[in-house]
Amino acid sequence: MSVAGINVLVEETRAAEKARTAPLLSVRGVETYYGNIIALKGVDLDVHEGEIATLIGANGAGKSTLMMTICGNPRARRGRIVFDGRDITNLSTHEIARLRIAQSPEGRRIFPRMTVYENLQMGASLDNFAHFNDDLERMLAIFPRLKERLHQRGGTMSGGEQQMLAIARALMARPRLLLLDEPSLGLAPLIVKQIFAVIRELNERDGMTVFLVEQNAYHALKLAHRGYVMVTGTITMTGTGKELLANPQVQAAYLEGGRH
């Protein structure tokens, strides 16, 4: 083996080591403004490869703003966002998406006049349709409902089905990091359970890295390996999901005093 080849090998090993230790996504001191109003006041947060990280907090705490800032819209005014060793703070949204950060945005935002099939196709365009048929079968196996609705327009489906479609569309891009913004919003408890079960399954079986923003603190923390609590634009508490669930402060503020 030539010297150059060995060098490449060494570099690859180093990179692999780095990947094991460094988080997949790291947010450092991020400040985001809407005009002159500060929404995020220096947020630090890590998501490691293969884990489910969750961010909980009250309405208006800045959870969705953080998620949107990771996606580059709005941009962070200060601080750094690093994904897989690459600074993505100043990239535009579509460039960030092309690094395989898939987002299921708040309010689902499926394409209402397009069929379920076309919606899924839009998701796969990032992957250049390389695994389209396999991925489609996989999505339809995970969400059997979508199979029934494959040629229905997205906008004619129920909220739960639209949420499933939004997640499936994001997964069609074969993401390295899946961002989910309040997937339980406005859904019946049974559907919420189904959706959280799917997230757990994706993580356990496929090793999908998930960053989950949720109001439904109980479900989210039960699911998560790592949890963050956000209050008015800053992270106030960190810990494993279990730790936070047992924390009396979290219980008082987000879990109705632990009566869940």
Partner: protein, 483 residues
């Protein structure tokens, strides 16, 4: 559930409050008074409209001054007609009238489970070959019916006009119907195409066949130029800026006299040639070369087929693009811009290509217009043209190719037909000129559209891809305001 079941949409809230399941037949007897009342209301409304619009007619008096002639009988006849029509609608069970007080609109929309029964698909499948066949055969049919080329000139000219608008409609459909960018200044690209050909051919003597692609490229360039400043705009704001853009182009054409000839326009633009062979009576002319007898109509028929081919190219390109990633990105952009970005679609490029390709077809149509007319002036490119083209796209059902073609025929041929409604004089008296009422009828047609087909003539969006079986759902089932 493997098929779409018949779907019941809940009755409107007032119907539910008054006992939702009262059948229309059951309340007909009760509704007689209501129908009468609304018929009277309609007649009164007609009266209110007719007095300012129809009542007074101006005529030149003997001294050169204007005399106002009141026409009360016309006003009353119109009111009577409206009254009777409203009464008939009410009694025949169609309770969807504008003035209907008891809203017992039937609220059940049935979606057939059998794809073969989907009227949208069937219509499109049958309509496309039918339309193309009819368009190809049109000059021949007119020739046979009218018994001569010279006699059929009017109809072939009308056909050319309709096809020009079909092409413009299809071009704008890319921008408005597919990408969802409301463009009120489309005529600017038509003008750019027309002036490109006119200037290139009169100044440098370039032939139509070289200028045609050049005009398209220049128009596409202007499309991108317009696209840049409006990238962040959507909806109303985009409409205002594009409207201004259309006006700027027109005003530049008027005021840049050195280049464009100003308001006087450009005349003696070279006529179209048969790929280099001119349509003249001489030795080198088309007729002599092909051993035919010279007839000036040969050029007109050639123009007809030229615009037909150009329009079909526009259509084929659009249909093809819709199946490619860029076409799907346009449609996704129309649906949700934020979702598009989060799926890695570069919305900037997507918008610019929509503007550029739409403008390119406008440019092709423009250079065709210039070679057909032989004379162009800024007058031909006013806002009314933009509005007409946009109306064609909206009437046709945004995004529907067949719908746009039907709407173009209705919008262009409809007013022409009114010229031939001389028999109405028997009803309204000798001085009645149906031509004067073109815009009134046009407005009525628009109102009727809004009431009965608010999403356009053909509101079914055909999925660009299918998996295993075809199925589609009418636009009326999806919430309003999307596309």
């Amino acid at each position: 559930m493997s098929a779409v079941h018949p779907t019941s949409v809940a009755p409107t809230s007032d119907a539910a409050l008054t006992g939702g399941d009262v059948s229309a037949a059951g309340r007909r007897g009760v509704d007689l008074a209501g129908t009468l009342r609304s018929a009277v209301m309609a007649a009164l409304l007609m009266f209110g409209l007719a007095v300012p619009i129809l009542l007074l007619r101006t005529e030149q008096g003997p001294g050169g001054g204007l005399i106002l002639i009141p026409r009360w009988n016309l006003v009353l006849v119109c009111c009577g007609l409206v009254f009777l029509a409203r009464l008939a609608i009410g009694l025949l069970g169609g309770d969807q009238g504008l003035f209907s007080r008891a809203r017992t609109r039937k609220a059940t929309i049935t979606v057939s489970a059998d794809p073969a029964k989907q009227s949208g698909f069937r219509f499109a499948a049958v309509a496309t070959p039918l339309f193309v066949g009819a368009a190809v055969a049109f000059p021949l049919i007119v020739y046979l019916l009218k018994g001569g080329l010279a006699e059929s000139r009017y109809w072939i000219d009308l056909g050319i006009l309709i096809l020009t608008y079909v092409m413009l409609g299809w071009g704008l459909n890319i921008v408005v119907g597919l990408a969802g960018l409301l463009d009120l200044g489309y005529v600017a690209f038509y003008a750019v195409g027309a002036y490109s050909y006119a200037l290139l051919s009169t100044t440098f003597g370039l032939s139509f066949w070289i200028c045609l692609p050049l005009a398209g490229i220049l128009a596409a360039f202007w499309g991108i130029l317009l696209g840049f400043p409006v990238l962040r705009l959507r909806g109303d704001y985009l409409a205002i800026v594009t409207l201004a853009f259309g006006e700027i182009i027109r005003l530049v054409l008027i005021n840049w006299v050195d280049v464009t000839g100003g308001g006087a326009g450009i005349s003696s633009i070279p006529r179209v040639t048969f790929f280099g062979i001119p349509f003249t009576a001489g030795e080198e002319g088309f007729a002599a070369r092909f051993g035919l007898e010279f007839n000036p109509m040969q050029r007109v028929v050639f123009l007809y087929y030229l615009i037909l081919v150009l329009a079909l190219i526009t259509n084929l390109v659009t249909i093809r693009l819709r199946r490619l990633p860029i076409g799907r990105a346009w449609e996704a952009l129309r649906e949700d811009e934020i979702a598009c970005r989060s799926l890695g679609i570069n919305t900037t490029n997507t918008k610019l290509t929509a503007f550029a390709i739409g403008a390119m077809f406008g440019g092709f149509a423009g250079s065709f217009f210039a070679t057909r007319q032989g004379f162009i002036s800024p007058e031909s490119f006013n806002f009314l043209e933009s509005a007409t083209i946009l109306a064609i796209v909206v009437l046709g059902g945004m995004g529907s190719q067949v719908g746009v073609a039907v709407a173009a025929i209705a919008m262009v041929a409809g007013p022409e037909l009114l010229r031939n409604l001389g028999f109405l004089r028997a009803v309204f008296g000798e001085g009645f000129d149906p031509n004067e009422y073109r815009l009134l009828l046009f407005g009525l047609a628009m109102v009727a559209m809004m009431v009965w087909r608010p999403r356009g003539l053909i509101s079914v969006r055909e999925p660009s891809v299918v998996f295993r079986e075809r199925k589609s759902i009418s636009g009326s089932l999806v919430k309003e305001g999307h596309g």
